[in-house]
């Protein structure tokens, strides 16, 4: 049985991951963690909120569906014809959940007992859709409240507003859960259509991390996976312009002081591809040098009272999108933007110092190694990396391999003022 497994060993960290492709077409990754009491399993499909237009079965015209359908489907799959998934998990004690992101949907559980039974439930309910007029309608009240809750969250507002300000066409400008209007259009037929397109095992992945035996996982897969036709579903690429929609967007909300999200948009030529592990490592080192806690920028902004400890910088990426985001709270977000631009300019002129590059690289490496402590992080990253076409552990290896030259090259080609937009949520406008 074990002959089907490919062993992926990482010498930097001593971790091993096993990979197999099940005869039904489903790729399976298992990351055993010695001494861990719990096991984390995640069953994901390459189907997220951005998949509102796609080519199914090699067709030439894209199918278009209402916003929020991937997330709606996630809610509804928990209800099968004869029982609900949560009631089934209740019999095993596993802690179960699911999430929908821009580019994927994942069903997961963690447990310390009855792993095999829980894995059977996971594989089973995700493969058994049951949508009726009545149960679809009932969910509108619940998701409606979830959307309302999101409308009250200043952090979500400031983030989504930035995406709207940066992207003309790319569907990340639409909220993951959709809107009250878009979800009102969702019917059982639409849900079944999307389900059978995206929930075929060739478009999915199973990851198990923690207290796990790979052959046990495989035997559950043999029992529970149903052969599924490869639908050859393809994401529709987006012809997204390089520039932003608007430079500044402001919304009034009850917050203590203005929240800001400042973004620099990267141009992704084909409108569909994902960043490589090497590119992400470069971006993260650059962000650490530019805006990390040891940086001149961070300390100057802090000393001048322009930011507080909530300040953070991150590279936000996925299929056909990538942007540099600086976020925080400030009485004067526009001045923060000016200071960031000035610092980028100075770094371009003066170059990146060797000592600060080395320290930033070590910091990134340490963070990537530390991330392997957490079986949930391991599981979710393996799913994300697999769908993005990145190898397991590539983040650790890439962090160890970043060069100063590659970071400087990235600095030259990105973080341009003309691709910048700022979103502000303010108590007063």
């Amino acid at each position: 049985m074990s002959g089907v497994w490919q062993e992926i060993f990482n010498s930097q960290t001593g971790e091993t991951i096993y990979k197999a492709v099940h005869p039904t077409g489903l790729p399976i990754f298992v990351c055993p963690k010695k001494g861990y009491r719990s096991t984390y399993a995640v069953f994901g499909t390459k189907y997220g909120s951005i998949d509102t237009a796609f080519y199914a079965d090699g067709g030439s015209t894209p199918t278009e569906v209402p916003a929020g359908i991937a997330h709606y489907l996630e809610h509804k799959l928990f209800e099968n014809e004869d029982s609900g998934a949560f009631e089934r998990y209740a019999k095993t004690g596993a802690s179960a959940n699911a999430y929908t992101s821009f580019d994927r949907t994942a069903y997961l559980f963690s447990c310390t007992e009855n792993f095999v039974d829980s894995l059977e439930i996971l594989l089973d309910f995700v493969q058994a859709p049951y949508f009726t007029e009545e149960n679809v309608r009932k969910e509108q009240g619940i998701i409606g409240q979830e959307i309302q809750m999101g409308l009250d969250s200043p952090f979500r507002r400031v983030f989504y507003n930035l995406l709207k300000a940066m992207y003309h066409k790319h569907p990340i400008r639409i909220e993951i859960a959709g809107t009250l209007e878009s979800i009102a259009q969702i019917t059982p037929e639409l849900l079944y259509g999307c389900y059978y397109t995206f929930y075929n095992l060739h478009n999915m992945v199973l990851v198990v991390a923690g207290n796990a035996d790979k052959d046990e996982v495989l035997s559950v897969a043999d029992r529970c996976l149903k052969p599924s036709e490869n639908k050859h579903v393809k994401r529709a690429g987006v012809d997204e312009p390089a520039g932003v929609v608007q430079k500044r967007i402001v919304q009034k909300m009850p917050v203590a002081k203005p929240l800001f999200y400042l973004g620099f948009k990267d141009y992704i030529e084909d409108g569909i591809s994902c960043r490589t592990a090497g590119e992400l490592a470069c971006a993260n080192v650059l962000l650490e040098v530019l805006a990390g806690r040891a940086s001149n920028l961070y300390n100057r902004l802090m000393e001048n009272g322009l930011i507080n400890s909530s300040f953070d910088a991150d590279y936000f990426d996925g299929p056909g999108f990538g942007s540099w985001i600086f976020a925080g709270e400030s009485a004067d977000p526009d001045r923060v933007a000016e200071e960031i631009l000035r610092e980028i300019d100075a770094l371009r002129r003066e170059g990146i110092g060797k000592a600060s590059f080395e320290a930033a690289k070590k910091a990134l490496y340490g963070r990537q190694v530390a991330a392997l402590n957490d079986i949930e992080t391991i599981g979710d990253r393996l799913v994300a990396d697999y769908f993005a076409g990145r190898e397991p552990f590539s983040a650790v290896d890439a962090a160890a391999a970043v060069t100063l030259e590659s970071v400087e090259n990235m600095l030259k080609s990105s973080l341009k003022e003309e691709q910048m937009a700022i979103s502000i949520v303010s108590p007063e406008i």
């Binding site: 949560f86 209740a90 309302q148 917050v255 940086s295 300390n299 070590k362 910091a363 190694v369």
Partner: protein
């Protein structure tokens, strides 16, 4: 595994968790003092101010650069509420020595850094530096102000304040905006001296191969404090049931946040395991009575959940609903609690809650941060329990004990944060 507990000196102890499963080592230092309105702000600023710098790295930027060199080691400061106590907590974590590319002893360096930060901070003329003080005062005040941003958390906090008015439990662990504004470098220095002298100190070491020099470093620090006289910890709660307090506040929000606060009327030796299980059965899981009825059956909300804090004897139930449905949600919540009091739940529901609760406690040890918090949460206890022992206690709870627990809670407050437009 069971950690070893060792007394460093009077009122200070170290808990050593020798664990080689993780890539990182972690040192946690917690200083406990009574949580009081008058002293909360000055105490709260201390961990933030102390973790800014040290004698060897005399500015935040220099210190951060050094931490980056130590493979992105992280030193974090925060303040917790442990029942009626305020815990000033500083945590250092870094990749474990085994993964250092050049064989450095990172953990030993972090232990020394922590000792120097906490016990010999940068000061001028017996007071904290003015510019550092101003920066941290601003950050702390903004942290308190920003509590309004997350409406669910804000509503829960407000409910606790209404429910536990006049008790240490109701005091904000970060202090108050006015309290922070009034702080001076000299006043903070006095609070620092008081903390070293009076606080109960709990150190937690989570490293592979034992705690190395950590106990010695903290011992050195603590023994340098003159006239140490640590406070006596007391976990007893003082609370008298009274009228239910109803408070509705309005803000520009789309969704109302309903929070119902309950208190355990029997404050002497409550049956903790039974309360934990009762909470799981009521609203601690996605197959709990509240989830099944308020969300799934009535479709009133996206979340309706309960949480229990044994240290305050408080159980909160909260839900995000449309304001016009808040009455319905409230009735249903009370109906579900009443059902538990009457024993009107199935064996399956009971056993499911038990399995989930056991699973939850058994998972705690698989993350260093959750395990450290687990033990900090036991700072007031004379004997510590491992998460596995807590799971075992829950396994032994009978339905009768859960019924008894449910019968001993009393509704004390109903708080609602509602929109401005729904009701005129």
């Amino acid at each position: 595994m069971r950690p070893t507990q060792q007394t460093i000196t009077n009122g200070a102890s170290i808990l050593t968790i020798d664990d080689d499963r993780f890539k990182t080592s972690r040192i946690t230092a917690a200083f406990l003092l009574p949580l009081k309105e008058e002293t909360a702000s000055a105490n709260a600023i201390l961990p933030f101010l102390l973790r800014r710098s040290s004698v060897d790295y005399p500015s935040f930027a220099k210190l951060q650069h050094r931490l980056n060199e130590l493979y992105g080691a992280n030193i974090a400061a925060d303040v917790y509420r442990i029942g009626y106590y305020q815990a000033m907590v500083i945590t250092a974590s870094s990749i474990d020595n085994r993964f250092a590319l050049e064989g450095e002893d990172i953990t030993a360096q972090l232990a020394e850094l922590m000792r120097s930060m906490i016990f010999t901070p940068l000061m001028e003329n017996g007071a904290f530096q003015k510019s550092d003080t101003e920066q941290e005062k601003r950050c702390l005040a903004e942290l308190i102000q920003s509590e309004i941003n997350e409406k669910r958390l804000y509503a829960r906090r407000r409910c606790e304040q209404v429910l536990c008015k006049g008790e240490g439990y109701a005091v904000n662990r970060y202090g108050s905006i006015d309290g922070v504004d009034a702080l001076t470098p000299e006043g903070i220095a006095a609070a620092w001296e008081n903390m070293l002298k009076r606080a109960q100190i709990r150190i937690i070491s989570q490293c592979a191969g034992g705690s190395g020099n950590i106990a010695a470093k903290f011992g050195e620090g603590i023994n340098s404090v003159a006239g140490r006289a640590p406070v006596t910890l007391d976990s007893a709660l003082n609370w008298q049931p009274g009228e239910v307090r109803n408070v509705t506040e309005r803000m520009d929000v789309n969704q109302a946040k309903l929070v119902m606060g309950f208190r355990v009327s029997k404050t002497a030796k409550p049956d903790i395991a039974a309360f934990r299980l009762m909470n799981a059965l009521l609203g601690g899981t996605p197959h709990s009575l509240l989830f099944k009825n308020v969300r799934e059956k009535l479709s009133l909300c996206y979340y309706c959940a309960s949480s229990y804090d044994r240290l305050g004897g408080v159980l909160l139930v909260d839900s995000g609903v449309e304001e016009k449905n808040a009455g319905l949600a409230q009735e249903e919540i009370l109906r579900q609690i009443d059902a538990i009091c009457r024993g009107d739940f199935t064996t399956e529901e009971f056993e499911s809650a038990k399995r989930s609760a056991i699973n939850q406690y058994q998972t705690v040890s698989d993350l260093q941060s959750t395990l450290a918090n687990w033990y900090i949460g036991q700072s007031l206890d004379s004997e510590i329990a491992t998460p596995e022992e807590a799971a075992k206690d829950i396994a032994e709870v009978s339905p009768e004990r859960v019924i008894e627990a449910a019968r001993s809670i009393k509704l004390g407050a109903v708080y609602m944060l509602a929109g401005e437009g729904d009701k005129k």
